[in-house]
Structure formats: structure tokens, C-alpha cells
Symmetry: C2
Subunit: 246 residues, 2 copies
Amino acid sequence: MMNTALHEQAWSNPLLRKLDSIADISDEEKQAILDLPAAVKVCEADVDIVREGECSTDCVLILNGFVCRYKIMPDGRRQIMGFYILGDIPDLQSLHLHVMDNSLVALVRSSIALIPRKSLRDMLRRHPDLSDVLWRDTLIETAMVREWLIGLGRRSAYQRIAHLLCELHVRLRAVGLARENGCELPITQTEFADALGLSTVHVNRVLQDLRRDGLIVLRGSMLEIPDWRALQDAGEFDPAYLHLKR
Amino acid sequence: MMNTALHEQAWSNPLLRKLDSIADISDEEKQAILDLPAAVKVCEADVDIVREGECSTDCVLILNGFVCRYKIMPDGRRQIMGFYILGDIPDLQSLHLHVMDNSLVALVRSSIALIPRKSLRDMLRRHPDLSDVLWRDTLIETAMVREWLIGLGRRSAYQRIAHLLCELHVRLRAVGLARENGCELPITQTEFADALGLSTVHVNRVLQDLRRDGLIVLRGSMLEIPDWRALQDAGEFDPAYLHLKR
DNA sequence: CGTACGATTGAGAGACTTCAACAAACGTGG
DNA sequence: CCACGTTTGTTGAAGTCTCTCAATCGTACG
């Protein structure tokens, strides 16, 4: 039976909200998470949160905004490898991999919580079940990267964009940040291009195709999806790899 | 100080050999790994080890041979997402993700050890440090997938192939399966194509370019790398993402 | 009201694909 | 040990998806 006050607090805590979408957490474990020390920090758009080569002592938890993981190639081009939203802990990997092999940047003004790595480790030692949940979370992230890989390897630009839009929409919904038929998506065409291995010119043209086909309505950062099923089919999107509870 | 008999055994145990390359393991932990129950099984070439949608009760450890992870697209094309060799536990994800979202197949006759998931879990509960090491291993795999992603997104076919050859060679060396200037690589051009998001025709032509440029000598499944540094430069290969100890 | 960044458009080029055929290598059975 | 079929590797030619370059347009913001 769930404690009501705790339940209130739990929903307002982004990490709990997210973990709740991928696993069952006991009240005791919820309390342990709420008890974690955290320093809140606001990052302006285009400011790096963690840089390649660094070894940070804190883990980053996204409270709001939009963050992405990227790497710069020797020739200056950029590859984006993941988008992160409320509740995500993008550098959970720093718990066990001490030197970052990629960077994190805020796409828009975002607030993040910095949790001392040591506090997190100690807490996970006391709650091995929670440790498993976070491990599970990192495995889900791997599954997302793999699905992304499939797109870059075997899907057309049209499919790739449709697929990414589906994924982002589903993830935003899972943490309560999207309506059934749309969401806010503060991602520029340049960022789509860097994420999907395309040029901005091509992204622009394919987005027009998607609009022309009535699959999306994209004005500024507002995305509308008139026919979800159609977009899903266009992107060959199957949410199984996200391993959500429902 | 290390127990000599244990040391002997450790080197002959593929899992220990591999974990040893990414972390420091205590004698007690080594013994715990050696005590794991395991059923050895031989898989013929092109036989699936785990299939998408399944929920296996065992974890797969590769004892020898060559295994890859793949997914089939609706149109029948295949994307390979990873290669696995001695010591790898490709479906460690099944510890926490109960339904497989991709498949594993043996590329050549391979032997694998099946470790009951429950035994592994119980052992990890008794040795939280080992749990962290395996978690670390899955995080390294994520890093490999990300690097692969970068290749598909931003590297030319020529670079991609060079990069993959470098990675495989380094990983084979880490577990003692490669000479300094070459190794055995039982991967067909079709498999390279499916792994790198290319057509077999193009793989064939680019391999010829690599040969012409003196970067590789590839006869059958024997790979020679006359000038490692040159191949590394061609593929923009930086082993940092493998997070090896030395 | 200028400036800057993102979105859009046109035209030409290039990397990679597809189709199709053929050669070489390999394992297997007679 | 050779014949044979199957798999893997190789080659040519035509096509296409996507890129690069370069210019223009819109809009938010100081």
C-alpha cells in the first residue's frame, strides 16, 4: 500500500517518475531516492554539461529542458548519439566508466541536478534492487542506441526522421510531457541532421515530404501528429525496445 | 598476492580473462566466478543462439568462435549491431531486460556456456563489486555501439571498414586471440556489409581499395595488418572508448 | 532596425546501390 | 580424388539517394 504523501512527492520527483515508467519501486526505495543529496544547476542553451575526456565526480539528472550526447569528428562534423529529457541520467555511465568518451550539451535552457557519485554509489549498495533498476535503465539506453544504429544503417532519411519523432514522442509521453497527438520538441533541423547522419538541407526537404504526406505538423518547436499510426508505419517504429512497463 | 593455482585456472577461464582486461578482480571474486554452474553447448555456423522475442532463463558466455547480434528489417534486410568473441556475455542484458529485442547468431561453429540467470544473480548479490564490473562491461558495450553509430552516421565506407578492423583486432588482442600484426577474422563480406550499413558490392570494392593502399592483407579469414598506425589513421580509430585497463 | 540564426530553395556532384553476370573457393558425396 | 553444387568474392554499368555549395528568406531579439 502506498503512502499518499510519498506518492505526491514521488510524482514531483523526475527521477522517480522516470524509474516508475520502467520498473516497480518500493516505498522504501523511493524514500532512499528522495533522500539523495543533489545540487540544482541551470544550463543555458548550447552550454556543455560534461565534456569528452573529463572525469566528473557527480552524476547528472535532467530536471527539465532538453539535452543531447554528441561527439565531434576530427573534421569538425558532429554526431549526436542520444537525446535526454526529464528524469534521464545521461551519464550514469560515469558511475563505472571514469573518463567520459563523449560530451553532453543542453539544447535549450535546462535545469539539472548534480548527485555526488559517492552518495549514489553508497545508496545503491544499500538497495541492490535499485541498483538493478538503474542498471536496467542503462540497458534500455543501449537498446535505444542500437535502434538508432539500425536506422542509420538500414533506413532511409524519411524513415529515420519518422522513427526519431515517434521515439521522442513516446518517451515524452512516458514522463507526462506530451499530449496524445503532439508535443513540444525544441530541436533544430541542424540537430536532426547531426543526429540522423544527414545534411541539414536534406532534413529540411524530408521534413517537407512528411508534412506534405500529412504525417506531421511542425511549426517552430510544436509538433503535431495527426495520425500516429501512419507516422509509426512510416518509421517502422516498434516501441518494444524501450521496454516500458505498460 | 595471487594464488598460483587460481591464477592458472583464471587464465583458462574465458570470462575471467575478459573481465581481467577491463577491471581488477580479487581472488575471492575469481573463485565465485569459477564456481558458477555452466552448461557448455556447441552451436553450428548460422544457427541462432537467442532469437528476438524470446525470454531465455540463461545467460550466454562465448567460449570460442564468433557470434553477432542482429535484427531483421521488415523488408528482409539485416543489420548487425555487434560482434562477440571469447569471454563476451552478449545477453547480459537479459539479466534485467526479460524479452530480447534482437537476436544472436553464431558466425562460425562456436561453443558457448549457458549460465542460469538465477545463479548469476545470486552470485552478484553476494559480490556487489563483481556486479559493478559486469555493469561496467555492459556500459563498455554501449560505448562500442555508440562508436559504431558514429561510423554509420559520419564516416565513409572506407573509414568504417578500417575502424571495424581496428576494433576487432584490438579486442581479439585483449583476450589473447591475435598476433600483433594480424588475426583470424571469420567474417564474410556480406556480414561486413550488414554490419556497416553497406552493400556487399561496395564492401568488396572498398576492401580492394584498402588492399591497394597497403593497409590490409586479407586472404580468406586471415587478416594481416602491415602498418597498424596507418590503418588506425584511416579509420580514425581511438581505442579510448573500449576502456581497456592498459 | 540591423544582426544572427534557422529554415528554405536550386543546381550540380558524388558516394553508394541495384541488377546482373561471372569467377573462385569450399565442402560434400560418389 | 574428382565432380558437383553452394557459397563467397569480383566486376561492369546504370541509377538514386543524399551531399555540397551557395544564395535567399524569415523571424526573433538586442
